[in-house]
């Protein structure tokens, strides 16, 4: 006997719900990923937070992973779906290696694969609840693309997910230029991450910056950013006002 009531109304077009599972809403989520192209390749930054609703539950989640020899994947959104995507990509890279033909999947191909996966899941109303950033270098060609949970995909010189779209992209538009040095790229990303730390409720003060070049992937050790609070306006925000606002 089935005690659990199905949530479908009579006029539903969704088909039988009982057999398949769908991600209706996310549980453990990661926030923004920010990335840019620089002189030698791609730089990507993401904090290490896994939020459980409004609780900052996990503070050492790695949200950027190398894929094959030439790519780096960063993800925001549901962490379990990101882990599933990593499994899919493992399989993809494995089959690619098994050809043993000296050829290997480049970032453009991996991005295309991810786009197809995300879009097809969206069409079945069973999305992988992530926004992905895929960056890489192959044979000197730099590539940086993004895919969302509904399959929207594009490539650009700098991308961001989640809150990064609103807070980081304006900074990137102003400060990015062709042939950034590693130091300048890191400084721009840190500027973006600091703003996100101030203004995104789900941000956590522990981040990693990853670099991918022709040589390979390096993901930095986790570290925290200094924040600035000692403005006189902060100490006395409402001098002279009645009430404290």
């Amino acid at each position: 006997m089935n005690f659990t009531a199905s949530k479908q109304p009579e006029s539903c077009l969704l088909g039988p719900e009982s057999d398949s599972q769908r991600t209706l809403y996310p549980y453990v989520t990661g926030t923004s990923v920010v990335a840019l192209k620089y002189k030698d390749g791609i730089l990507m930054a993401a904090d290490m937070g896994g939020s459980y609703g409004s609780t900052l539950r996990y503070k050492s989640v790695e949200r950027m992973k190398p894929i094959g020899k030439h790519s780096l994947l960063g993800a925001s959104g549901e962490i379990s779906d990101f882990q599933e995507i990593l499994k899919y990509l493992d399989e993809l890279i494995l089959y690619d290696n098994m050809w043993d033909d000296g050829n290997s999947l480049g970032p453009k191909e991996v991005h295309n694969y991810l786009t197809r996966v995300m879009y097809n899941r969206r069409n079945k109303f069973n999305p992988l609840w992530n926004s992905l950033v895929l960056g890489g270098v192959k044979k000197g060609e730099k590539y940086l693309g993004t895919v969302s949970m509904i399959g929207v995909n594009f490539e650009d010189n700098h991308v961001a997910t989640g809150f990064g779209n609103h807070l980081a992209r304006p900074i990137l538009r102003q400060e990015w230029h062709e042939n950034l040095s590693f130091e300048d790229g890191v400084k721009i990303l840190e500027k973006c991450m600091r703003v996100l730390l101030y203004r995104d409720r789900s941000a956590v003060n522990k981040l990693q910056i990853a670099k991918i070049t022709e040589e390979g992937v390096t993901i930095s050790q986790p570290y925290s950013l200094k924040t600035y609070w000692e403005f006189s306006a902060f100490e006395n925000p409402t001098q002279g006002a009645v009430g404290s606002w």
Binding site: S51, S54, T55, L56, R57, K59, S60, S131, S148, M149, T161, G162, F163, N165, H166, E183, V186, K187, E190, Y198, R199, D200, R201, S202, N205, K206, I209, S220, Q221, P222, Y223, S224, L225, K226, T227, Y228, W229, E230, F231, A233, F234, E235, P237, T238, V242, G243, S244, W245
Partner: protein, 235 residues
């Protein structure tokens, strides 16, 4: 979903608010984050509001609701003080808050902690959660961040603390809540009220103690990468 920032969501102070009595007065504490949806609209708000010279209130929940209630109570208390001819008591202030909260319970969404000092009863803390219940307590916690502090206070609260101990406890508690509650953050503000008067303190976010899984803040990754290598072991 991506791009769903909802900047028109009502301003809510997710918040952590605390009020603690000690041997001689009270210490009120709060974080400084005000959010609209997931965006931090104000990272340095002041949630500890003055009602009279000797009574303050910590505000949580809807920013608009808590502000309007504070304004009304400040107005009533001002008239009351003139009519009485001496400072209002903490109990009267708390009851005025209660009346507004209770009689408008269907419309208001604000939890308040009233704290102050008067010559009759000394330092007192009153909690007035949603619905308008009035509860006199030796210490009170409120706001979304308080969920993370029940265990902490069960263990750390002691009767008869000194002023310094009480303030340290409040700062530590707000800092712990900020570490885990996304809706709390920024700086820790405290207000100490006793027979000598009122003292306001400010503890910036970067000066607070580090908790589990938190790291020492750095200026930049570049500083870490360029740091000199540690000395080899000297056996």
């Amino acid at each position: 979903m991506d791009l769903d920032m909802n900047v028109n969501a009502p301003h809510s102070m997710g918040t952590t608010i605390i009020g603690v009595t000690y041997n001689g007065g009270v210490v009120l504490g709060a974080d400084s984050r005000t959010s609209t949806g997931m965006y931090v609209a104000n990272r340095a708000s002041d949630k500890i509001t003055q009602l009279t010279d000797n009574v303050y209130v910590c505000r949580s929940g809807s920013a608009a609701d808590s502000q309007i209630v504070s304004d009304y109570v400040r107005y009533f208390l001002h008239q009351h003080t003139i009519q009485l001819g001496q400072p209002a008591t903490v109990k009267v202030a708390a009851n005025l808050i209660r009346l507004l909260s209770y009689n408008n319970k269907n419309m208001l969404q604000t939890g308040l902690i009233v704290g102050g000092w008067d010559k009759y009863e000394g330092g007192k803390i009153y909690g007035i959660p949603l619905g308008g219940t009035l509860v006199e307590q030796p210490f009170a916690i409120g706001g979304s961040g308080s969920s993370y502090l029940y265990g902490f206070f069960d263990q750390a609260w002691k009767e008869g603390m000194t002023k310094e101990e009480a303030e340290q406890l409040v700062v530590k508690a707000v800092s712990l809540a900020i570490a885990r509650d996304g809706a709390s953050g920024g700086v820790v503000r405290t207000v100490i009220i006793n027979s000598d008067g009122v003292t306001r303190n400010f503890y910036p976010g970067d000066k607070l103690q580090l908790w589990h899984d938190e790291l020492e803040p750095q200026n930049s990754l570049l500083d870490i990468l360029n740091a000199p290598s540690p000395e080899p072991m000297n056996i």
